[in-house]
């Protein structure tokens, strides 16, 4: 039973090492010369007018929400898509049902006007 978990742990560590090495190598190689102008925010070369810490419009949150739903959907279809030939007909219809439920959700959001900006 244990070796199965070993694989997962091994892949988890490999992921962390892969991402970490990218950071470490670039941290080592890049020159560092911070100065005040470089740390100031980039505003097309002009002085910053007004403050950027404001209450954002709720529309942005709705967009983010719908994006997350479909992102998770792809997360599930990916492993299925790798082996869907061996799984046969049943898995196919199962996945189709899963996708249809989400499309219905999108249709509802569309008709409700969540995607319109106004």
């Amino acid at each position: 039973m244990l070796p199965d978990y070993l694989y997962i742990i091994f892949f988890f560590l490999l992921g962390i090492a892969f991402v970490g090495s990218a950071f470490i190598v670039s941290w080592v190689l890049r020159p560092r010369a911070p100065n005040s102008a470089k740390n100031s925010p980039y505003e097309c070369g002009e002085i910053i007018k007004g403050d950027s810490r404001i209450q954002f419009n709720v529309r942005y949150y709705l967009y983010a929400l719908i994006f997350v739903i479909f992102d998770v959907e792809i997360l599930f279809t990916m492993p299925w898509a790798v082996v869907f030939r061996q799984l046969g007909k049943v898995a196919y219809f199962e996945m189709a049902a899963f996708v249809l439920v989400l499309v219905a959700g999108l249709y509802y959001a569309w008709k409700k006007g969540a995607l319109e900006w106004q």
Binding site: C44, E46, K49, G50, I54, F56, N57, R59, Y60
Partner: protein, 363 residues
């Protein structure tokens, strides 16, 4: 109505067509107010004009609207000829018409390419139109030795005759360009996404256009049938028949479509002019030292609108005062009215359709 945020669509920005600084106050994605700031390319042209002789100022007019340098040269030389009433040889008039119209085609091609790029067709349309423009720019390179700032027109004519095989090159280019125009129509003009992004965006009514002094393709897109080459013909424009395409509603798509149709009309003019070039020397034999008194105002049809020169001369070699009335300056003043209430991506679309050049606005 959330809190308002002030965003600098500043001097260094990929879609402001030069160094234009728009201070946008936005509510989420909607532009509530836009305050343009100019002057980031103000090179004090009019002060220079007062310290240069008439001939010495011609290279500076190249750098005004640097996409249509020939038309600027033409506008300035016509004004000086009108002020000092200098004759122009007939061959020079035909050469000037051909080359000014070729430069109009090149300028509209850049405007179409950058407009499509603003709407998200990243660089594909730009590559098409720029490769067409390269043919014209190479032709100008043969004629007067430079790709962008030509300094080709002289007071009283043109600086040199066109090399021998140029008529044939121009004829081939016209045939090639007509094929390309059909391709642009299929590829871009009636593309569903392109229509969705530019139809009904930034509608400019006729009265507002006249009130803001807008001129050129943008005025014609709003339905005013007005072209200086037809209304007050200069050079030999009255000898050619070409029609003035006018748009319907005055939205961004109309402004784009007008430029395509105008390329077609310019090709027609060039075709008729090529066939009827008279013989003769390209510049009139006049005493090359120009001085005079008086004042005059002359305007010509630039690709972007009516370029006017107001020259005041007090007898010296240099003009006493030279005011350059630039079309993009008035065209841009409409922008802040057009984009109130649109979201930012549509504001970029309207700015692209107005087709401004900062060198001409800031002088």
């Amino acid at each position: 109505m959330g809190e308002l945020l002030t965003v600098n669509m500043g001097p260094q920005h990929p879609s402001t067509h030069g160094v234009l600084y728009l201070e946008l106050t936005i509510d989420g994605e909607i532009v509530v107010n836009c305050k343009p700031h100019l002057g980031y390319l103000h090179r004090s042209m009019e002060k220079i004009a007062e310290n240069r002789t008439y001939i010495q100022f011609i290279p500076f007019t190249d750098r005004l609207d640097y996409l249509a340098s020939m038309n600027n040269n033409l506008g300035f030389c016509l004004t000086v000829e009108k002020l000092l009433n200098i004759p122009v040889t007939p061959r020079a008039q035909y050469l000037r018409v051909i080359i000014a119209e070729l430069n109009r085609v090149a300028s509209h091609l850049v405007a179409i390419g950058t407009f499509a790029q603003d709407l998200g067709a990243y660089a594909t349309a730009l590559f098409y139109t720029f490769s067409d423009r390269e043919k014209i720019v190479e032709l100008f390179d043969n004629i007067c030795g430079s790709r962008l700032t030509y300094n080709y027109m002289r007071i009283g004519g043109v600086s040199g005759d066109i090399p021998a095989g140029t008529e044939q090159i121009i004829k081939d280019f016209i045939a090639y360009e007509r094929k390309q125009l059909k391709e642009y129509n299929e590829l871009l003009t009636y593309n569903v996404i392109f229509l969705a992004r530019s139809k009904k965006i930034g509608i400019l009514s006729k009265e507002k256009a006249l009130n803001y002094g807008v001129s050129g393709p943008i005025l014609r897109a709003s339905g005013v049938k007005w072209d200086i080459r037809k209304e007050e013909p200069y050079l030999v424009y009255d000898k050619f028949d070409f029609d003035v395409p006018t748009g319907g509603v005055g939205d961004s798509w109309d402004r784009y479509k007008i430029k395509l149709d105008e390329i077609e009309q310019s090709l027609r003019i060039i075709e008729q002019a090529i066939g009827a070039i008279p013989e003769g020397n390209p510049v009139s034999k006049v005493n090359r030292v120009f001085r005079g008194t008086g004042e005059t105002y002359m305007r010509t049809e630039n690709p972007r609108g009516e370029l006017g020169f107001y020259l005041v001369a007090e007898g010296g070699f240099n003009p006493y005062r030279c005011k350059i009335r630039s079309p993009s300056f008035s065209n841009l003043s409409v922008l802040s009215e057009l984009i109130k209430g649109l979201n930012i991506s549509d504001a970029v679309c309207v700015l692209g359709s107005l087709d401004i050049v900062m060198g001409e606005i800031d002088r």
